[in-house]
Amino acid sequence: MTGDARIEVGMTIHPLEWSPTNVQLFRFSGATWNAHRIHYDSVYAQREGYNDVLVQSHLHGCQLLAALLNWVDGRARLERFRWQNRHLAMVGDVLTCTGTVVHTDDAGFECDLQEVNGDGIVCAPAWARLAYNHV
């Protein structure tokens, strides 16, 4: 979204594709003081039945928000945001965050968002409400 482009229902945000790495998950755990070994200890993760360490639930939300805010480009202010951790993701997965405007009014707009893995499985559905920044 650029300049004074009008937000309309049906508009889609630019997809954000990302592939988690061990280093990224380690850094995110460090930044959020999350010592849960499932996110940085591959041996522990495999012992728990996973091929590798898992993406933090909060990071799913953050990636969805990154996609949305990049598209918004400072033109609106986040009021509400919700997301669900529905399917696990791990190092090496290719995840794509997309979204669609589903409601507009004089004050702002709402988007449905989702993060999908390479198999088309929804890892994290989300929704956001933003208020226009009036200049």
């Binding site: 990302w18 010592a35 939300g61 990049n70 400072g74 202010r77 945001f81 669900q84 951790n85």
Partner: protein, 141 residues
């Protein structure tokens, strides 16, 4: 435990913390400090500054990471999601108090076995009022 509120001061947020947090998120731009400061506040799992190695479980989690005072020993916890309401900008350098309560606890049967669903509500505020309301779910098995 349900409905009982615990309140604690978590100190002040500084710009560098938010910058470190952003650097671990693919594609995140620092343009929207309002949103990202709020996301940072809602994503930190533990505000304890003291070394708490002795209180850590074998999986690396601590008691205070979900709900201070709740005994969750033996439970494997995973994050289920969040509902966030952003009231005002997170003021950097200003002390923040968080009030937390266990809003709901439900035991459900799934194909993989029994699941404990915990809903925790937290309100972060400064002397100027609420900054962020967070409703977060955890799945225990």
């Amino acid at each position: 435990m349900i409905g009982i509120t615990a309140e604690r001061c978590i100190g002040a947020i500084v710009e560098k913390e938010v910058a470190h947090f952003l650097s671990a998120i693919t594609g995140a731009e620092a343009l929207d400090r309002h949103a990202w400061s709020g996301l940072y506040l809602s994503s930190v799992m533990d505000w304890n500054a003291e070394p708490v190695a002795e209180s850590m479980r074998e999986d690396g989690t601590t008691e205070s990471q979900v709900l201070s005072g709740a005994s969750l020993s033996g439970l494997r916890l995973m994050g289920g999601g969040q509902e966030l309401e952003f009231h005002q900008d997170v003021p950097l350098g200003e002390e923040i108090v968080v009030s937390t309560q266990l809003a709901d606890a439900q035991l459900r049967e799934a194909s993989s076995g029994a699941l404990l669903l915990l809903t925790v509500q937290s309100v972060f505020e400064t002397s100027a009022g609420p900054i962020l309301t967070r409703r977060e779910t955890f799945i225990g098995r």
